[in-house]
Amino acid sequence: MSIVQELSRALPKGIVITGEENTRPFECDGLSVYRQKPLAVALPESIEQIKQILKICKANNTPVVTRGAGTGLAGGAMPLEKSIVLGLSKLNKVKSIDAENQLAVVEPGVRNIAISEAVAEYGLYYAPDPSSQIACTIGGNVAENSGGVHCLKYGLTVHNIESLTMLTMDGEELTLSRQDDGMGLLALMNGSEGLLGIMIEITVKLTPTPQLARVVMAAYDSVRDCANAVADIIKAGIIPAGLEMMDKFAIEAAEGFAKVGYPLDAQALLLCELDGSEAQVQAELDIVLKVLSGASTLKVSESEEERLNLWKGRKSAFPAVGRLSPDYYCMDGTIPRRHLADMLDKINELSEKYQLRVANVFHAGDGNLHPLILYDANIPGELERTEEFGTDILKLSVDMGGTITGEHGVGIEKLNAMCHQFNNKELETFHKIKQAFDPDSLLNPGKAVPELHRCAELGAMHVHHGELPHPELERF
């Protein structure tokens, strides 16, 4: 009996999905240029069913790719050939809310925004807010250690998880908490990309909804001045609730799409949100307005409606850019803030070199860049050129003292770039950490950490002045 038959027999009807047509929606995540059909998709409705699925997969030595909503941008949830996709979208309940201690216990498949909605009546919300929050799941957020606009002040996912329960490939449960006296296993699970265990229950920390939030929009005639303003705000002792920047191309795209009143003649735009009590916001506002006095346009939201409107452009920047090009590729490097202006210059030079347009929208406060490279996959060679462009940006990020990924993860996408950031001994350590949790390597194997021979081959390739040996072979 095949594993698919075995799974279908063991589980109630409707849990195991098979066949070309039905599994198609699961063949990729948000990085849709890479696709792979799994053997089958299982959508369990209980922890018991997850355990049954794992048991059968283990007995058949079949890899398991855990999936939340599939909004990941690095191929983390892309199926492997001959794998089973374990989709957790049906486990989507907020199980309990402890308003007094500002905690909520949730299932892994609950959507990020659904947590904030469920606790709103207590004057609370879940602070990390990835732009994909209407769709992405808390399990996916933990697995990627996701960030969002408000993470500058309120922390990343890792800072907002109180405890979680995970399953090993053997189906054994382990609960990890912030209070555990021992190694930082809870922190380790954040950003583990489905390779160490399966998160089945998560206790999240909740944050009181601020009394007031106001956003300052500052437009600049020079990208450098705008980038420097970011560091100046922090230098002035202010931690904004959000600090986002857009370049000219992104401003135009966002304005064309959302019509929110961004100045179209600006070279760069800054959105700086301040929140807290009325007095706090006013005090911070006074300082911020002084720091931003060199801006060509300066505007402060006077109402909640106006605030949301100013954010709307930023929040729709991705789809807005998407309208201008058949395809776009989103990068995710992070650099020290003081290098922002230099980085943007370099990206523009690369844009010329590769003859590809790029829009910059990013979490400036964290130094987390999201250059969107515009391309057309139907033009032969353009995807490859785009990926080379992207790799150059990631290498620059590392060389400036930053990292190849701030929040989107490595997945399959950044395996090569990992070779640039880590040496063999470090990569080996990562592989051994996986073995400590998953000795048979059945949880999302091959993702997140490159094999050493891959890095060696890549190193050898560079010796040949960028001329790739075996161009016929597929390379991610």
Binding site: R178, Q179, D181, K235, T334, A436
Partner: protein, 177 residues
């Protein structure tokens, strides 16, 4: 500076049993501190008092609780706690094979590779020599009253087993006592 790391590596390689502490480490000082980055990178033997002195010049503060200003940041890190875990961004270590390794970095957001710099928080000197630590700091006005982190002993068999396996990842010969 790099010499001391090479010396430490040699010491680890030559040892069959080692108890790491600040005097043995003999490696202190601020490596890099840009106030506008809200990040400080220091050698692990640097005292908390020294860190506070540098930070106060820029109206910035540590975001984790410390009982005693005379102890080193390395000791606070190895002892562990949710507050220091939250502020850690990167570490440089020497593992039980004497290899000098780097994990994490000096930026606020970084998800490349497993979060080893937070895994080793609370490792009590039993996994690796921590030589350098980067952590987040904040303008003092954003740091409220700090209190000792709550710690509970919760050691189910599976956790004990995984911790043992992780010990042998970093210290295969079992030299760190």
């Amino acid at each position: 500076m790099a010499d001391r790391i090479a010396q430490l590596q040699a010491l680890v390689q030559a040892s069959s049993s080692l108890h790491i502490n600040t005097e043995w480490l003999d490696y202190a000082g601020v490596v890099e501190y840009y106030p506008e980055e809200l990040v400080m990178t220091v050698k692990a033997g640097t005292t908390i008092a020294e860190l506070k002195k540098q930070l106060s010049k820029n109206n910035q503060s540590l975001t984790f609780y410390t009982k005693d200003d005379d102890v080193s940041i390395g000791a606070v890190y190895a002892n562990g706690g949710q507050d220091i875990s939250d502020s850690v961004l990167g570490v440089q270590i020497i593992d039980g094979n004497g290899e000098a390794l780097n994990f994490g970095g000096q930026v606020m957001k970084n998800v490349a590779g497993y979060d080893v710099s937070r895994l080793l928080v609370g490792s009590k000197g039993k996994l690796a020599v921590i030589t350098q630590i980067s952590f987040k700091v904040l303008p003092s006005t954003y740091v409220g009253e700090l209190s000792a982190p709550i710690k509970t002993n919760n050691n189910p068999a599976l956790r004990v087993e995984i911790e043992q396996r992780l010990k042998s990842v970093f210290d295969p010969k079992g030299i760190f006592q």
